[in-house]
């Protein structure tokens, strides 16, 4: 973004929130934290403080759902890594089940496609998935949603100030995208060591982990790094076998499952017959569900690994609970299945090396996490 535009944006008063917060948010985008590349901003949606403030307000507004219980932030919770750490897969309006884990929205500005199966193209477009899905925010129609916003007194004038006109589908997407684009997190211990030359910024184990990550463990082939910055993703989709595990495990609806009711108390429990609304966590074909191309079977998007220590549980279905579980999953060669990505194979890693990889992953947490949470919570939750 050109400096002139940015200054103009800074000057534009933010109608909806704490102005300092918006100024800092724009500054983050203008000069991203160490380790992050320049932020791609679409030409037709330049960032302004007013849009960021409005987008933030919308993101935390539960009125954006049919029965006023769900905001975007109820599944992308700032204090829980902008995902939900308390469930493998989040829960939508009226308790409806979702089949997939909520990806973090940290650094989502850099994602070239949206969702685990890359089915959408931009942050601007993505919002209609959750807003209109009956399992997520369940707005019965676009008109219903727009009327809710237009009719809320606390939104009076905000779209006009940010966009020069009343709320519509385009502006709604642009506002939400603008806020999300500013949630940048970098300058992690890893960045300060690797890109900043601070030799003692990370522990020894993390350095050994990095050597493994880029060496014999082969992680970097998909979780890519650049010369001056790193997003830890190739923006591609791969079959690691996670999708296949779930299908294998759930192929037959079992009569009873083992449930850990309390630490150490495991009992067999009978399942109900129905799904109680929403989708079950089973049979997820991944990218093939979009393309119908058998080569895309069980292929899911490579996530960025930034702030990954904060975003448990892991994988598209939240089936792995800890980073150590993830690394052991790779060590064991993923889950063999006919379309397994050839890069996924059993790795010769001892326990020490597993721990080193985990230490490396833990060094990827940005230094502005508290600032981003405070930024997020600078706006009151809309009820």
């Amino acid at each position: 973004m050109a400096l002139g535009t940015l200054l103009g944006a800074l000057a534009a008063a933010s109608a909806a929130g704490d102005e300092d917060v918006d100024v800092r948010a724009l500054a983050r985008v203008a000069a991203p934290p160490l380790g992050l590349p320049a932020v791609p901003v679409p030409a037709d949606n330049p960032l302004t403080a007013a849009k960021v403030a409005l987008g933030r307000k919308l993101f935390f507004d539960r009125r954006l759902s049919h029965n006023r219980t769900m905001s975007c932030a109820m599944c992308h919770i700032p204090e829980q890594g902008f995902t939900n750490n308390e469930v493998a897969t989040p829960v939508g309006v009226r308790g409806r089940s979702l089949p997939r884990n909520a990806p973090t929205t940290y650094n989502v500005a850099y994602q070239r496609s949206m969702f685990h199966d890359a089915r959408d193209t931009s942050l601007e477009n993505q919002i209609f998935g959750p807003l209109l899905s009956p399992d997520e925010m369940a707005n019965p129609s676009v008109g219903f949603l727009l009327e809710t916003i237009a009719g809320a007194p606390d939104y009076a004038g905000l779209f006009e100030a940010a966009f020069g006109g009343p709320v519509d589908v385009i502006k709604l997407g642009q506002a939400l995208a603008s806020y999300q684009r500013t949630v940048l997190s970098g300058n992690s211990p890893f960045d300060r060591w690797h890109f900043g030359g601070e030799s003692d910024a990370v522990p020894d184990a993390a350095r050994r982990g990095y050597a493994l990550f880029t060496g014999k463990a082969g992680c970097v082939a998909c979780h890519a790094l650049g010369e001056r910055d790193a997003l830890f993703t190739d923006h591609g989709l791969h079959n690691t076998g996670i999708g296949y595990v779930l299908v294998a495990g759930r192929a037959e609806r079992k009569d009873a499952v083992k449930v850990e009711l309390m630490p150490g108390v495991v009992v067999p429990m009978k399942l109900k017959r129905g799904s109680g609304g929403g989708a079950r966590r089973e049979k997820d074909l991944g990218r093939m569900g979009i393309t119908d191309d058998p080569r895309d079977l069980y292929a899911f998007k490579t996530p960025s690994l930034r702030n990954v220590a904060l975003t448990a549980p892991y994988m598209h279905d939240g089936s792995l609970r800890t980073l150590a579980d993830v690394v052991r999953f790779y060590r064991d060669g993923g889950t063999p299945n006919p379309a397994l990505d050839p890069l996924i194979r059993p790795l010769d890693l001892d326990d020490d090396e597993v721990a080193a990889l985990v230490a490396f992953l833990e060094s990827l947490t940005g230094d502005d996490v508290d600032e981003l949470t405070a930024d997020a919570r600078s706006v009151a939750v809309g009820n």
Partner: protein, 444 residues
């Protein structure tokens, strides 16, 4: 905010102290209600059932169902009134104001509060106020559950919050007219508010009951919206979600509403039932996940402690108790198992060594039990939660009335809530004309 809070505290404190001083009325379902409320000691006339709307049943909406239980009435055992509130909101618990003129019915999903006038015509409750801004007013508490009467006020346990839909929540106080007074958050490890027991604190909430003569309030803990609203199949198979059940109870100063001590009570301790006897300074709760009965008591040094005193049923096959009812002599406790549809009578006359002495299967699944003051009549309902109820060929929704003669439960009538087009029967409260007679009013 701070000002509002402290002002509220002083007023309530004064109210409570004055009642304590003058010998509060005896605690009364009717034995499990607030001590600030007149119990129906004779024949209850109506049972109000807060009922969840069910897909494919009637208007599919949550409703207050009134059942006539006057033994000599032509409509005995029949539904005589329904009030549909429109839509499904996860109706759950309801509670009465101290003057028993208002039945407050809350919804766990979208945090509505429906205030029904049950005094003008106890046979036909009418909606007199609908509170839609509970979340906004309380500062972010969601999922109102227990409504507990204090003098001129009600204390509502919330079960979740508007920031993450997890289990951290609060107690919210209203006036009898439905005006918001104050919010008291349950202590969390990073905000203990002066209470001890940080290692056990989870901030979760479920039920509240008080022991005025000790100036003590006791709350229990459940889970958040993301678990209770979600399909049980999904929750049970989500290891992350299974870590999010309450493991704590909190002892509070009733007068100041300050938390004093967090006790470790694992396994989602739900209903709180104080013994009624004047020197019985103890309460029971049921840990729903472990099927254990817990005793909360004062030790020799006057410290509040929690101890599990009985595992009910087969631990490999938990009963998942949904409710407990204590008898007015503190000798027995009825234990309702959601999983086995069975009620069990537990002899708790020695509170440290309770034993099960009787059981009876009531239906495929039961959740709530409510007994008359003298224990001779007891009513059971079927529904736990809309997404946790059984859905197999044996699934049923009902209210079943029984008599208890000290040896045997005998069914007096049963109302099929599906056949009647009503929905999922959850929680019950009793009504009677006698409560509003002049004599009663004068006595109070």
């Amino acid at each position: 905010m701070q000002n509002v809070l402290s002002k509220a505290r002083t007023t309530i404190g004064a109210l409570i102290l004055s009642l304590v001083g003058h010998g509060a009325p005896v605690v009364a379902d009717e034995t499990c209600q607030s001590p600030y409320m007149t119990p129906i000691k004779g024949q209850e006339e109506f049972v109000y059932v807060w009922t969840l709307g069910m897909d494919g049943v009637g208007d599919e909406s949550d409703k207050l169902v009134t059942i006539d239980v006057r033994p000599d009435s032509e409509t005995y055992g029949k539904v005589i009134s329904t009030y549909s509130v429109g839509g499904q909101h996860e109706a759950h618990h309801s509670g009465l104001s101290d003057d028993r003129r208002t039945l407050w019915a809350g919804t766990l999903d979208d945090s509505q509060l429906y205030l029904f006038d049950i005094a003008t015509d106890p046979a036909k409750p009418r909606l007199k106020k609908h509170i839609t801004d509970f979340v906004e007013a309380s500062g972010g508490a969601t999922g109102p559950h227990t409504v507990f009467a204090l003098p001129g006020r009600v204390l509502i346990t919330a079960t979740s919050n508007n920031r993450d839909h997890g289990g951290r929540s609060a107690l919210v106080e209203y006036t009898n007219d439905g005006d918001y007074v104050a919010t008291y958050w349950i202590p969390t490890p990073d905000n203990m508010q002066g209470a001890t027991g940080k290692e056990f604190a989870d901030g979760y909430n479920y039920d509240v009951r008080v022991l005025p003569r000790k100036n003590i309030m006791l709350t229990s803990s459940w889970t958040g919206w993301s678990n209770y609203m979600r399909d049980s199949n999904e929750v049970l198979q989500d290891a992350e979600a299974m870590k999010r059940w309450g493991n704590s109870m909190t002892i509070w100063n009733l007068h100041t509403r300050q938390p004093l001590k967090v006790l470790q009570v694992p396994g989602a301790p739900l209903e709180v039932r104080w013994a009624l006897g004047e020197d019985h300074n103890y309460a029971f709760t049921h840990a729903s996940l472990t099927s254990k009965l817990w005793l909360i008591y004062q030790d020799d040094k006057g410290e509040w402690q929690a101890k599990d005193v009985l595992t009910v049923g087969d631990p490999e096959n938990p009963t998942f108790p949904g409710s407990i009812v204590i008898t007015n002599d503190d000798r027995y406790l009825w234990w309702q198992g959601i999983a086995d549809g069975t009620t069990r009578l537990i002899d708790v006359s020695d509170p440290f060594h309770p034993k099960e002495i009787y059981k009876k299967k009531i239906g495929a699944q039961i959740n709530m039990g409510s007994s008359s003051w003298d224990g001779s009549r007891i009513y059971f309902t079927s529904s736990a939660l809309s997404k946790w109820d059984r859905d197999d060929e044996q699934a049923e929704q009902f209210l079943r009335a029984y008599t208890w003669d000290g040896k045997e439960l005998k069914q007096s009538f049963s109302v099929d809530f599906v056949a009647e087009g009503l929905g999922r029967a959850h929680q019950m409260r009793f009504g009677a004309h006698s409560l509003y007679s002049d004599v009663q009013t004068a006595q109070r």
